[in-house]
């Protein structure tokens, strides 16, 4: 089985870290307690989990436009995931990542939330000729 998964687009820096994975969406306003650095929407599959420093692997960008500012604000306070890996983005997520100088890759041939085990060590390279996420350990 291939341990590398190619994305259609990427932005940011090459990083390694531990994945936090769920088949659920992502919106900074709807889903997060940005002060405590945890998922706070009770219905979210990661409710109560800390996202700080984690490689978030989720399904789709959700919610409103606030994330475009909030990623920058979260980055400034250092209460931030390390990177975002999404099956589907919306423009807000791209705009927010661009402003915050953050790392994100998106768009896969498979469901990336099923391909990456929760807690696995991964490497993300958004600047490779084909941006990708690679499993480097469990």
């Amino acid at each position: 089985m291939s341990q590398i998964f190619h994305a259609r687009a990427g932005m940011g820096r090459k990083l390694q870290g531990q994945a936090l994975v769920a088949k659920d969406g992502f919106s900074a306003r709807y889903d997060l307690d940005r002060i405590k650095g945890v998922f706070s929407r009770p219905e979210h599959k990661l409710a109560g989990e800390s996202y700080v420093g984690r490689m978030l692997v989720l399904d789709a960008a959700k919610g409103g436009v606030a994330t475009a500012w909030m990623l920058y604000e979260m980055q400034a306070r250092g209460v931030m995931p390390a990177a975002l890996v999404l099956n589907a983005v919306n423009p807000i997520m791209v705009q927010g990542v661009a402003l915050a100088d953050f790392t994100m890759i998106s768009g896969f041939d498979c469901d990336i939330t099923q391909a990456i085990p929760n807690g696995a060590m991964v490497e993300i390279d958004p600047n490779a000729e084909r941006p990708h996420i690679r499993l480097i350990g469990s």
């Binding site: 709807y30 789709a60 960008a61 919610g63 409103g64 436009v65 919306n90 705009q95």
Partner: protein, 413 residues
């Protein structure tokens, strides 16, 4: 992306550092999302409440505002989404001085940039509705989905930094809903129940949003037995955008780009879903099953039209709200509501009329902590979707049921 001579000049700094940053930001976004070039836009609309901006975002704005006048002005009409407070009533919400100070700083920066502080998410009802085919750069998902679907305008979701960029450059990357090929339906929803109340329209929007699933899906609805009003479209669209991140819908025979089924539905098979009254009831029940009383009632998200304000006033006539009842409208509607006596009728019955803000964009978590608010009744499906993450337990009810609850000490009927 292909750049014109003007765009190249912006990129090399000929129009100053703000425009240079803006076009560079737009190129990054456009490149990620597959834009080949830019499209000129006629209006920009910026979402920038200070809960979202934070201190870092306000300082970022102030850096641009400190530039010389000829380097810092927007070049197209650029307006704003709701602010994070209503200064006249901030004490009633227990907004803290630091919040007001941050708001004042953000407003001062925007004004210096030449932005018109309209502070509304219903600009399509009150300021300047876009016309069919008009390319815009709108923030607020509710504004985008209404403008795209009901007016036939063309906008993507433009977050604050990108909407400001569009204001500064007068253009936006041409991707997504600026392009014909993205405006065709991708799923068909057969509706066997036409909602009556605004909360039901919102519930239908939430259901379709969950079915759609992401920004690139365009639902087409068939089976509605009448043309929805502007307020009904507003609640349907706001919920659809909130639950599904959807930016465009069609209603066959109703919305301008779908007069016939084959206008919006391409040949070939579409995934199809059926939605009926039981689905709408179940959606609403999902929010009320664990709540038998509420701490406050909120009408907001989107801001109330004059017609909604009139309805709230009528429902409160001869009654008394014994828990907080907040009716949030725009700075454009509020003077009319004052002049026509609607504000007085609502406030004399114990309600509070707020303007220029929106409940969830106004430090909702801090308001909950300061006021002891936990359980909330609203007729806005969008609000129910957002507030769970802020620690509230929301109930989705009709406007009439919400007012009844407010007048019964919060007890739900």
């Amino acid at each position: 992306m292909r750049l014109t001579d003007d765009e190249q000049a912006m990129r090399t700094g000929a129009f100053g550092p703000a425009v240079q940053w803006a076009i560079e930001h737009q190129i990054k976004v456009g490149s990620y999302l597959g834009a080949d070039d830019f499209v000129p836009v006629t209006q920009a609309h910026i979402m920038a409440d200070t809960e979202s901006l934070g201190v870092a975002g306000v300082e970022w704005l102030e850096r641009w505002a400190a530039l010389p006048a000829h380097h810092r002005s927007v070049r197209i009409p650029t307006i704003t989404d709701p602010r994070g407070t209503d200064f006249a009533s901030a004490h009633k919400l227990k907004h803290q001085p630091w919040m007001l100070e941050l708001e004042r700083r953000a407003i001062a920066a925007f004004e210096t940039l030449g932005v018109l502080m309209t502070d509304t998410c219903i600009n399509y009802q009150t300021i300047m509705p876009p016309v069919r085919g008009e390319h815009c750069a709108y923030g607020d998902t509710g504004v985008v989905i209404y403008s795209n679907s009901v007016c036939g305008a063309r906008s993507n979701f433009e977050g604050g930094p990108s909407a400001l960029s569009a204001g500064l450059t007068g253009r936006t990357p041409r991707y997504g809903y600026h392009l014909d090929q993205h405006r065709q339906a991708s799923l068909l929803v057969q509706v066997s129940f036409t909602p009556r109340e605004l909360n039901e329209w919102g519930a239908l929007g939430g259901i379709v949003g969950r079915l759609a699933g992401d920004y690139w899906q365009v639902p087409a609805l068939v089976g509605l037995d009448r043309v929805p009003t502007s307020d009904e479209m507003k609640h349907f669209g706001a919920a659809l955008a909130s639950y599904g991140s959807v930016a465009l819908f069609h209603m066959i025979g109703i919305t301008p780009e779908a007069q016939r089924l084959d206008d919006a539905v391409p040949s070939g098979e579409l995934r199809t879903h059926d939605v009926g009254e039981a689905d709408v009831r179940a959606f609403q029940a999902g929010y009320t099953k664990a709540i038998d009383s509420v701490d406050l009632v909120v009408f907001s998200a989107p801001q109330l039209s004059l017609v909604e304000m009139q309805r709230v006033a009528e429902l409160l006539d001869g009654k008394r709200a014994t828990i907080p009842l907040l009716a949030v409208t725009s700075p454009q509607v509020k003077p009319d509501a004052d002049r026509m006596g609607l504000t007085a009728r609502i406030e004399n019955a114990g309600g509070t009329v707020l303007s220029g803000m929106c409940f969830y964009q106004s430090y909702a978590r801090e308001m909950a902590e300061a006021n002891g608010w936990k359980r909330l009744a609203t007729n806005s499906a969008k609000l129910t979707n957002i507030l769970g993450g802020y620690g509230y337990k929301p109930a989705l009810l009709s406007m009439e049921q919400c007012v009844a609850a407010a007048c019964a000490g919060g007890k739900l009927g």
